[in-house]
């Protein structure tokens, strides 16, 4: 828990914090405006989208600068702006946004990478007729993602989370006429939904335990000491505290969004979307949202644990973080294994993303916020670079995506090759020069020193080996050997290669801010001053670790070159590794049968349940309705019978009787005077008799 070396809360937010809400709002408004445009207004649509994100980037840079200046002067910045959203009886539901180092860093990354990908898309999607719709969705996504980043309230975060999921669905299924794309979009949405249900449960439970959904609220937030102790006090099943349970539930939501082990199945299929979408959403930002969420609620995940060496936010020991670590480590290896045997250029990258997300989660679990976030930031840049490079390759090979039909593009597409190679080396963790090395090494370091054992460490090392191997395999297939595709490959236009160059620079340069010698990034996030400490290099265990990871990387690269080198196997031939171990290759190529497992269990159950529900609906409810209908009709018949026989009949009979009676009575009126006279006389007689009888004698 952060104590003492916490952030000094500002009572009034600075001006940049006050207008922080503009950062997500401007792209969202741009999205709305684009939605109203007609399809031919392509230039206007892309200009609006890029312009709005540029504005957001500017504001993000200002915010980052503000936090940076505060940090460099020694006091930390955590400014929140909260407002009442929903008054409920005696309490309220508040929303708000926060500006602190974590959100500032994410803001800059999302807006920068997003802007580069937007510019890239204008070239990639130039021939697509739904250009306008594409930018509308992209803008909406950007706005929602930025909303997730700055949210200070779990509810606001969840709302933006859902919009992000929606736009992901819309963009994966962008070419909706393709059945595979539509199915992939549905799969993505439903799988992340499973995670989101647990997330929502976590939110509700958190609200019940602490009474607020805000993270930071001048002492009253859920992540501040009072809130945390309230959650620790609550009890859940199996001897866990409520804090652990809530943390695990929230992690379930993050696992869905970030494609961790049981819920990873949607990410590879999401490659049905256009490549810019894959680059932006499924490499750099949306899938990182899960990691960001865990980083955001880290005080909750680490609640109740003892501090490991290194200080407050690094490596606490709690059940929640242990679960996160093991899930992350297993995902890393699992996905890396599958990536080895894939043949679609984007699918390899997709599994690679899943694997790297596993690394990030493991890093969060073992090393704390800074370790995980550093890898997230570096990964965003080089993965986006790799995806955009893959897009360039696909574009250059006339929409071909199978790596067995590419090859020799080193000479045809030099810029793409150079930037792609930089990205691949960064991903593999090539020592010292590339950012990926430093970020992955930080994770390995924290895994090496983890209190609960070395299991994850070995897994992660094996994963690094595999990463190097499959990336080498991919590069060999695509860029080396001879060209096996159709037509003639050509380099992509400037508008597509320029972002590649910029990202390549970042892929190299970002490593500098995270080296142990100058741990600027960690210091920035953890709020302590950073100094250039070459003494770090002499800490025990430092050089062995660097040696281990270097060895592993070179081993992977070497193996990859040895198997694949300059050879160019055709699509029909067996893969080099396949010849060595065909059964294992078969399993890996079939993605370790996870989808099939789901198909047999979950999907089959669901289909069965749908049949049951249909039967229930038709037979039982339908039967009830039919019975009620029949009863009513019977009642109607009876009613009519009753009405006709008794009411009508009775009434008619009555009228007839009256008529007859009238006829009878009319017979008295004979028209003959003497008869009337008789009646008079009779009446007189009767009256007289009565009078006489009744008179007293």
């Amino acid at each position: 828990m952060q104590e003492g070396m916490g952030f000094t809360p500002q009572l009034t937010a600075s001006s940049i914090a006050q207008i922080l809400w503009l950062i997500p709002a401007v792209p969202m408004v741009a999205s709305g405006v684009i939605a109203l445009l007609k399809q031919p207004a392509r230039k206007l649509a892309s200009t609006l989208a890029i312009g709005s994100l540029a504005v957001s980037l500017l504001l993000a840079l200002v915010a980052f600068g503000h936090v940076l200046s505060g940090w460099s002067h020694g006091f930390s910045v955590r400014e929140t702006v909260n407002f009442v959203w929903l008054p409920m009886g005696t309490g309220t539901v508040d929303l708000g946004w926060v500006l602190d180092p974590l959100s500032a860093v994410m803001l800059v990354m999302v807006t920068l990478v997003g802007l580069l990908i937007f510019i890239y898309s204008t070239g990639y999607m130039a021939h697509d007729e739904n250009y306008t719709r594409f930018f509308c969705f992209l803008s909406l996504f950007a706005g929602a993602m930025l909303g997730v980043v700055i949210a200070n309230s779990l509810l606001l975060l969840f709302m933006n989370w859902e919009i992000v999921g929606l736009t992901s669905y819309l963009l994966i299924g962008f070419w909706y006429q393709k059945p595979s794309a539509a199915a992939a979009a549905k799969k993505a949405f439903i799988t992340t939904r499973v995670g989101d249900i647990f997330f929502l449960l976590g939110i509700v439970w958190l609200f019940a335990q602490t009474g607020t959904l805000l993270f930071y609220n001048h002492g009253g937030g859920a992540l501040e000491p009072d809130g945390i102790s309230a959650m620790l006090a609550g009890k859940a099943a199996m001897g866990l505290s409520a804090a652990t349970a809530i943390g695990l539930l929230i992690f379930a939501g993050a696992a869905g969004k970030s494609g961790q082990l049981p819920l990873h199945v949607w990410l590879p299929d999401a490659m049905e979307g256009p490549t810019p979408v894959s680059a932006l959403i499924h490499a750099a930002t949306m899938v990182a949202a899960g990691v960001y969420l865990v980083a955001r609620v880290y005080p909750l995940m680490a609640a109740g644990g003892t501090l490991s060496q290194g200080g407050a936010v690094a490596g606490s020991t709690t059940t929640a973080l242990t679960v996160v670590t093991w899930v992350g480590a297993s995902t890393a290896v699992f996905a890396a294994l599958i990536a080895v045997a894939q043949n679609d250029i984007k699918r390899i990258l997709a599994y690679s993303t899943v694997s790297q997300l596993g690394y990030m989660m493991a890093g969060l679990g073992m090393g704390g916020v800074a370790v995980g976030m550093f890898h997230l930031i570096t990964h965003a840049f080089f993965k986006a670079l790799l995806f955009m490079g893959a897009g360039s390759v696909i574009h250059g090979c006339h929409e071909e995506q199978d790596i067995r039909r590419m090859g020799g593009l080193r000479t045809e597409m030099p810029v793409t090759f150079a930037t792609y190679a930089i990205g691949m080396l960064a991903l593999s963790g090539f020592p010292l020069l590339f950012s990926g090395f430093w970020s992955k090494d930080a994770i390995l370091a924290s895994a090496h020193d983890w209190h609960s054992g070395r299991g994850p460490f070995y897994l992660l090392v094996f994963g690094a080996l595999l990463t190097a191997f499959y990336m080498t395999r991919q590069v060999c297939y695509v860029f080396f050997g001879e060209y096996r595709g159709h037509g003639h490959a050509h380099e992509s236009p400037r508008v597509m290669t320029a972002p590649l160059r910029i990202l390549a620079l970042f892929a190299i340069g970002l490593g500098i801010v995270g080296t142990p010698a100058w741990p600027w990034f960690q210091a920035f996030l953890e709020d302590h001053p950073a100094a250039l400490e070459f003494a770090r290099f002499n800490e025990p265990g430092f050089w062995p670790l660097i040696a281990t990871s270097t060895l592993v990387v070179f081993l992977g690269l070497g193996l990859g070159w040895w198997f694949y080198g300059n050879k160019s196997p055709r699509a029909e031939e067996a893969d080099a590794v396949e010849r060595v171990a065909p059964t294992v290759w078969g399993w890996l190529r079939d993605r370790l049968y996870v989808d099939e497992l789901y198909g047999v269990t979950v999907v089959a159950f669901y289909a069965w349940w749908a049949r049951v529900a249909d039967w229930l609906d038709r037979r039982v409810w339908g039967g009830i309705v039919a019975a009620v209908t029949t009863a009513f009709r019977g009642l109607a018949h009876f009613d009519r019978f009753f009405d006709q026989q008794f009411v009508d009949g009775g009434f008619d009979k009555g009228c007839e009787e009256i008529y007859t009676g009238g006829g009878l009575l009319a017979r008295v009126q004979t028209g003959r005077v003497q008869h009337y006279l008789r009646l008079l006389a009779v009446a007189v007689v009767v009256l007289a008799a009565i009078l006489i009888w009744s008179s007293p004698r």
Binding site: Q674, R678, A681, V682, V685, A688, A689
Partner: protein, 166 residues
């Protein structure tokens, strides 16, 4: 009950019976005149001289003549083909008998309370005149009005038809 009473009573009743049973209408008119006369004599016997003479003057002198005139004007002297009694004569007889039974029974029942003999009243014309124009002046005037109306009405009823049938 003196013998005169019985004779007069018999005369009146027989005259009435004859009036309702004779076939010839003129004979009926004459019989009813005899009944009127009998009644007049009964009035005289009851010391109601004014009423008796008024009876003779009005009934015998006017009503009976009227009846005869009417009979003559309507050819009532001709015997109708179906007979003189109506189709349902028995009902009429029964009813009349019933009426008589009731009335007679009432009379006989109350014969104990009827006064027996009283002093014969002496009624002078002077008294009657005084009474008529004193105590009973209103009925007198109204009767005068009534008679006028009846006169006018009878003339109108009888005259219009005369005009149309011409």
């Amino acid at each position: 009950m003196s013998a005169v009473f019985w004779i007069l009573a018999a005369l009146t009743v027989l005259g009435g019976l004859a009036a309702v049973t004779l076939k010839n209408t003129v004979h009926c008119a004459l019989a009813v005149t005899v009944a009127f006369a009998g009644l007049a004599l009964l009035y005289l016997q009851l010391d109601a001289q004014f009423a008796g003479f008024a009876q003779i003057l009005v009934y015998i002198g006017a009503v009976a003549i009227l009846v005869v005139f009417a009979i003559l004007l309507t050819r009532g002297s001709e015997t109708p083909k179906q007979g003189i009694f109506s189709r349902s004569w028995f009902t009429g007889m029964t009813i009349a008998a019933g009426v008589f039974a009731v009335l007679g029974w009432a009379v006989i029942q109350s014969s104990q309370v009827l006064p027996d003999e009283t002093v014969a009243p002496s009624v002078t014309v002077n008294q009657i005149g005084n009474a008529l124009l004193g105590r009973y002046v209103l009925p007198l005037e109204i009767v005068a009005l009534l008679l006028t109306a009846a006169l006018v009405g009878a003339v109108i009823v009888a005259m219009h038809e005369k005009g149309e049938s011409k």
